[in-house]
C-alpha cells in the first residue's frame, strides 16, 4: 500500500523476543526521544495520518506465542504479535473461535494490530470487535513501564479498562504486548442469503432481518452508490436450526420488499471453519499507471445509508471519481473505495468529511496515494477535531509525554 511504503523504509528495525526486551528497548531509546513506529503484520500501516520519520520500528513478529489457552473457560492469552490466522486453527480444535473475521486476516493481521485498529469484519454485527472480546492486556509504555489491566476472567470491573482504551489508538499510546481474549463456540452450520437491493431497500431489509429475531451474524451491502448492490445476510447456527433460521430470514427479506433472496450453497471453508463471501473480493484492482485509489471509512447512524450514498453519488459525479462501497448496514459502517484523479478524491473527501461531521458521524482515512494528503494540505479526515480530542491529547501526554509513539498518526489533532 502506498502510505505503508512511505513508512516501511525505517532502517533501524527491532523485533523483540519477549515483553522484557520490548520494554528495555523503549526504555533505552527514551533518553534521546527516539520516535517509534510499532508494527505487526503491516496490513494497516496506511490507516490514519502518515507517521513522521520514525527513528526506529518495533515489530511484534517474535511476540507471537500462545501464552495460556483454557478451553473450559473459553479464554486464551496470546502475545500480541500472534497472527489471527495462526490462532484460529488452535481454537478450532476445541470447537471454539475468536469471533472476528477481518478481511486482513489473510494478510497476517495480528491480535495486537486488530485491537489497536478496531478492524473486525462482517460478523462484528453480532460479536463486536476486539473492544468487546478482549478481557485483559499487557502494555509497554513509551518509558518502558510494563502495565497489565483486566485479567483472565470474562467479567471484571477492577480498575480502568486500559485494554479497551487501546482500541482505535493505532499505536500512539503504548505497545500492546499481550492480550487475553474471550472465545465463542464455533458455529456448526451457516447460511448466507443474497439479494439485489439499492441502498434504501438494503436499509429496510436490514431492519427487517434484525427485527425478525433471527440474530444474524452479519449483514453487508456492497455496490456502487449509484445503482443497486448486493445484500448479504449471514446466519450461524446448528445443523438442526439453520434451515429454520434461514427460512425465517428469507421471509423477512421478502416481506421488506426484497424480490430475489437466494440461499447460497456453502463456499469453501477457511481454516476456522467459517466462511462468508468476502465483499472486499469484489473490489476491482487498481489499474497500472493510475493514481492509487483511496480507501475511506465512514460511520453514521444505520438508517443514514441512503442519504450517504446519495451524497457520495453527487460528489462522485461532480469530481469524476468512481466509488465502490461496502456497508455493514446493521452498524452504519461504510468502507468506500475512491478511484480517479487525486484532485477529485481530495475534493470528495473534503466535502464528505464536512457532511459526515455535521451528522455526528465519522470519516477516517485508510490506504491512499501519498499525494492525496499533499493536495488536501492535511491528513485530518474531517474539518473539525472530534469532541473528545482534547481529552485524547491529555491521555496521550500522560502515556507518552515526549510523543515518541507514531507521531503524526492523528495529526493535526494530537
Amino acid at each position: 500500500m502506498a502510505a505503508g511504503e512511505a513508512v516501511a523504509a525505517v532502517d533501524d528495525q527491532h523485533s523483540p523476543a519477549d515483553v522484557q526486551a520490548a520494554a528495555a528497548l523503549l526504555r533505552e531509546t527514551a533518553a534521546d526521544r527516539a520516535t517509534v513506529l510499532i508494527t505487526g503484520a503491516g496490513s494497516k500501516l496506511g490507516w490514519g495520518g502518515p507517521v513522521i520519520g520514525p527513528d526506529l520500528e518495533i515489530n511484534t513478529r517474535h511476540l507471537d506465542q500462545l501464552i495460556d489457552y483454557r478451553p473450559g473457560d473459553m479464554t486464551v492469552a496470546v502475545q500480541a504479535g500472534m497472527p489471527l490466522e495462526a490462532l484460529q486453527p488452535i481454537l478450532a480444535e476445541h470447537g471454539q473461535w475468536l469471533a472476528i473475521d477481518p478481511p486482513t486476516q489473510t494478510a497476517g493481521a495480528t491480535i495486537g494490530g486488530l485491537l489497536v485498529s478496531g478492524d473486525a469484519g462482517p460478523r462484528r454485527l453480532r460479536h463486536g470487535t476486539l473492544r468487546d472480546l478482549s478481557i485483559g492486556c499487557t502494555l509497554v509504555l513509551a518509558d518502558g513501564t510494563i502495565a497489565r489491566a483486566g485479567g483472565h476472567v470474562i467479567k471484571n470491573v477492577a480498575g480502568y479498562d486500559l485494554t479497551k482504551l487501546m482500541h482505535g489508538s493505532l499505536g500512539t499510546l503504548a505497545l500492546v504486548a499481550e492480550v487475553v481474549l474471550r472465545l465463542n463456540p464455533l458455529p456448526a452450520a451457516g447460511r448466507t442469503i443474497t439479494c439485489t437491493l439499492d441502498a434504501t431497500g438494503a436499509t429496510r431489509a436490514t431492519a427487517a432481518v434484525i427485527g425478525s429475531g433471527v440474530e444474524p451474524s452479519a449483514i453487508e451491502w456492497s455496490g456502487s452508490p449509484s445503482s443497486t448492490g448486493i445484500l448479504l445476510v449471514r446466519l450461524d447456527g446448528t445443523a438442526r436450526t439453520i434451515e429454520a433460521l434461514s427460512n425465517h430470514a428469507v421471509r423477512a427479506l421478502r416481506d421488506s420488499g426484497a424480490h430475489d433472496p437466494e440461499v447460497l450453497s456453502e463456499g469453501p471453508s477457511t481454516s476456522s471453519g467459517i466462511s462468508i463471501p468476502e465483499p472486499g473480493d469484489s473490489i476491482p484492482e487498481p489499474v497500472e499507471g493510475q493514481p492509487h485509489p483511496a480507501i475511506i471509512r465512514l460511520g453514521t447512524l444505520p438508517d443514514q445509508l441512503p442519504m450517504i450514498t446519495d451524497k457520495i453519488n453527487t460528489l462522485a459525479d461532480r469530481h469524476q471519481v468512481e466509488v465502490w462501497m461496502i456497508s455493514s448496514t446493521g452498524l452504519g459502517l461504510h468502507t468506500a473505495r475512491l478511484s480517479g484523479p487525486v484532485r477529485g478524491q481530495a475534493a470528495l473527501i473534503d466535502e464528505l468529511g464536512a457532511v459526515v461531521q455535521q451528522l455526528g458521524g465519522s470519516l477516517a482515512l485508510r490506504d491512499r496515494d501519498p499525494e492525496l494528503d499533499r493536495v488536501r494540505g492535511t491528513s485530518a479526515p474531517m474539518p473539525e477535531p472530534p469532541p473528545a480530542t482534547a481529552l485524547q491529547r491529555a491521555v496521550k501526554d500522560r502515556f507518552d509525554p515526549d510523543h515518541r509513539l507514531a507521531p503524526g498518526r492523528f495529526a493535526p489533532w494530537f
Binding site: L165, A244, G360, W413
Partner: protein
C-alpha cells in the same frame, strides 16, 4: 425528600453520632477556606430547593448501598440538567473542593461514599427520556432514569436495554455507566460497556464533552470505554445514548435442584464447555434459597442443596435446542428435580425470587456483607468448597447467590452488626473471600465496583506499575484529583503504609464514620 438508598440495599441502621459538617477538622486551610467560599457560590448559583444543607437532609447522603461506610457530605446539589452539573463541578474546581457523583445510591462498593468536606452532586432528578430512535435502536436518556424505566420506554418498539442488575427497578442508568454494571443476562449480552453508543460528561474541570457518537468507529483511543466503569473518578455522566436490542422471540427458563452446590457448579462447567451460552445461569445455595423462599415464596425448593436458574432466549428453534441441552446436562450432573416455567408469570416469579435475594437476607440475619469476586468458570466447585471452609473457620454463615455462568460470585457473609467482634470477623472473612478469588486467577469485582470498599485490596490484583498507569488516565481527566477521591486506588491514608490487607477506614478510626 425521598430516601435515596434503595430498599434492595442491605440492612443497617447507621450511626446516630453527630458528624461535623464543616471542614474545620481537616488539616490544610485551603480546603476548609475553599469549602466556605464554595458554599456561598452554591447558594448564589442554585435555588434552595436544589441544595441540601441541613443535617437531617444530608444524612440521607451519608452512604450508598454499602451502609457500613458513612460520612456526611458538606452539601448536596440536586442537578436537573447538564448545565447544572457543569455549574456545580465548576464551583468545586474553582474552590478546590472535591465532589462525589451520585445516582440512585444503590451501589454496593461505597462508590458514592462522600469524603469529608465533599460536595455530593446527585443526578437522581435527571430522569427524562431525551430521544428515542427506534429505527437505529437507540435512546438518549438522562442519567437518573432507572434502569428498568429505560426498557419500559423502549417496550412499545419491541426493544429493550440489556444490562439488568438485580437493583434495576431503582438503580440509575448513570450509575450503570459509572460501575459498568452487569446483571443476570450479561452472560450472553455483555455488560453496560457493550451497550452504550455515547455519553455526555462533565469533566472534573467543568467542561462538557461528548464521548462516542453516531459512528460505531469514532476516531482515536476509546475514551468512552475507559470512562464506563471509572466509578465517578473521571467525571459525571449527564446524557447517555444506550443501545437497544430487539426483544428475543422466545424465552425459556428452568430451575434445576441439586443435592450440593458442587454438583450444580459441575453442571455449569458442563454447559459452558458444551458450547451453549445461555442468556443467564444463576445459582442459589441452600441458605440463599431458604432466605428467598421466606421473603418471596417464589417456589424454590427448600430441600435442595443448591438451585440453578437457567434461561435461554433468542430465535425459537435455537432456544428449543439449547434448552434441551441444558436440561440434559443438568440431569447428567445429578439434578434431583427440574422445574420448567410454564407461563410468563411463573418465569417472573423465579426472577423475582432471584433478584430479591440480597434483600431477603434480612429475613435470616441482622446484617450481611456481600462480595463480588470473579473466578474462572471451571473452578466454581473448588472455590465454593474453599469459601465454605473459610466460613466454617470464621464461625460465620455464608450464603451464595450468584451469576454462575460467568463465574461472578456473590458470597453473603451473615453477621450481627451489634456485635463489634463479630462485625470485625465478618469483614475479615469478606475480604479474604474477595482475595481468594484473585488467588484463583480471578478478579476482585465483577460488577459492583471497587469503590471505597475494595481499594485497599487492589494491590493483590495489580502491581504498582499497573495502578500508576491507570492513574495516568485519571490525571488526564481529573488533574486536581477532585472527582470522587479515595475510590478505586489504594492510598496510604486509606490503607496504611502496607496496603493489601483489611484495615479500618481511617475515618472510622477517628470516629468520623459509623457502621451500619
Amino acid at each position: 425528600m425521598p430516601h435515596p438508598t434503595s430498599d434492595l440495599a442491605h440492612s443497617g441502621t447507621g450511626s446516630d453520632q453527630p458528624v461535623p459538617v464543616t471542614g474545620g477538622h481537616v488539616a490544610g486551610g485551603h480546603v476548609a477556606g475553599g469549602l466556605a467560599a464554595a458554599r456561598n457560590a452554591f447558594v448564589a448559583a442554585f435555588p434552595s430547593e436544589q441544595l441540601v444543607t441541613d443535617p437531617v437532609g444530608l444524612k440521607a447522603y451519608e452512604c450508598d448501598g454499602l451502609t457500613a461506610f458513612r460520612m456526611r457530605p458538606a452539601l448536596v446539589v440536586l442537578a436537573q440538567s447538564t448545565e447544572d452539573v457543569a455549574r456545580a463541578v465548576g464551583i468545586c474546581a474553582r474552590y478546590g473542593v472535591s465532589f462525589v457523583p451520585r445516582g440512585a445510591g444503590t451501589g454496593l462498593s461505597g462508590g458514592a461514599l462522600p469524603g469529608p468536606d465533599s460536595v455530593v452532586i446527585s443526578t437522581a432528578r435527571m430522569r427524562k427520556v431525551l430521544a428515542i430512535d427506534a429505527d437505529n435502536r437507540r435512546m438518549t436518556v438522562q442519567p437518573g432514569m432507572a434502569n428498568s424505566a429505560v426498557s419500559a420506554a423502549a417496550e412499545p418498539y419491541g426493544l429493550y436495554f440489556a444490562p439488568d442488575p438485580s437493583s434495576q427497578i431503582v438503580c440509575s442508568v448513570g450509575g450503570n455507566v459509572a460501575e459498568n454494571s452487569g446483571g443476570a443476562h450479561c452472560l450472553k449480552y455483555g455488560f453496560t460497556t457493550n451497550h452504550i453508543h455515547a455519553v455526555t460528561v462533565v469533566t472534573p474541570t467543568g467542561e462538557i464533552v461528548q464521548l462516542g457518537g453516531n459512528s460505531a468507529d469514532p476516531i482515536g483511543p476509546d475514551l468512552l470505554a475507559v470512562f464506563i466503569g471509572s466509578e465517578g473518578t473521571l467525571g459525571i455522566v449527564t446524557e447517555i445514548t444506550v443501545k437497544l436490542l430487539v426483544r428475543p422471540v422466545a424465552v425459556r427458563t428452568l430451575v434445576a435442584d441439586f443435592a450440593t452446590a458442587e454438583q450444580a457448579a459441575d453442571a455449569v462447567s458442563g454447559l459452558v464447555s458444551h458450547g451453549v451460552i445461555p442468556a443467564a445461569v444463576e445459582m442459589l445455595d441452600q441458605l440463599a434459597i431458604s432466605a428467598v423462599e421466606t421473603a418471596t415464596h417464589a417456589g424454590y425448593n427448600r430441600d435442595a442443596g443448591a438451585a440453578l436458574v437457567i434461561e435461554v432466549d433468542g430465535f425459537d428453534a435455537v432456544v428449543g435446542e439449547e434448552f434441551e441441552i441444558a436440561e440434559r446436562l443438568c440431569r447428567d450432573n445429578h439434578a434431583t428435580t427440574i422445574r420448567i416455567a410454564q407461563t410468563p408469570h411463573e418465569r417472573d416469579l423465579i426472577w423475582k425470587g432471584r433478584k430479591s435475594a440480597f434483600a431477603a437476607m434480612g429475613r435470616i440475619s441482622p446484617a450481611y456483607l456481600v462480595q463480588d469476586g470473579v473466578i474462572p468458570r471451571t473452578r466454581l466447585a473448588e472455590v465454593l468448597t474453599r469459601i465454605a471452609e473459610l466460613g466454617k473457620a470464621a464461625e460465620l454463615r455464608v450464603a451464595n447467590v450468584f451469576h454462575a455462568g460467568d463465574g461472578n460470585l456473590h458470597p453473603l457473609v451473615l453477621f450481627d452488626s451489634d456485635d463489634a467482634e463479630e462485625t470485625e470477623r465478618a469483614e475479615q472473612l469478606s475480604t479474604a473471600i474477595a482475595e481468594l478469588c484473585v488467588a484463583f486467577g480471578g478478579a476482585l469485582s465483577g460488577e459492583h465496583g471497587i469503590g471505597a470498599d475494595k481499594a485497599c485490596s487492589m494491590p493483590t490484583m495489580f502491581s504498582d506499575d499497573d495502578l500508576d498507569t491507570m492513574q495516568r488516565v485519571r490525571s488526564a481527566f481529573n488533574p486536581d484529583g477532585l472527582a470522587n477521591p479515595d475510590k478505586i486506588f489504594p492510598t496510604p491514608r486509606l490503607c496504611g503504609e502496607k496496603s493489601g490487607k483489611y484495615r479500618p477506614h481511617p475515618l472510622e478510626s477517628t470516629g468520623l464514620i459509623g457502621r451500619g
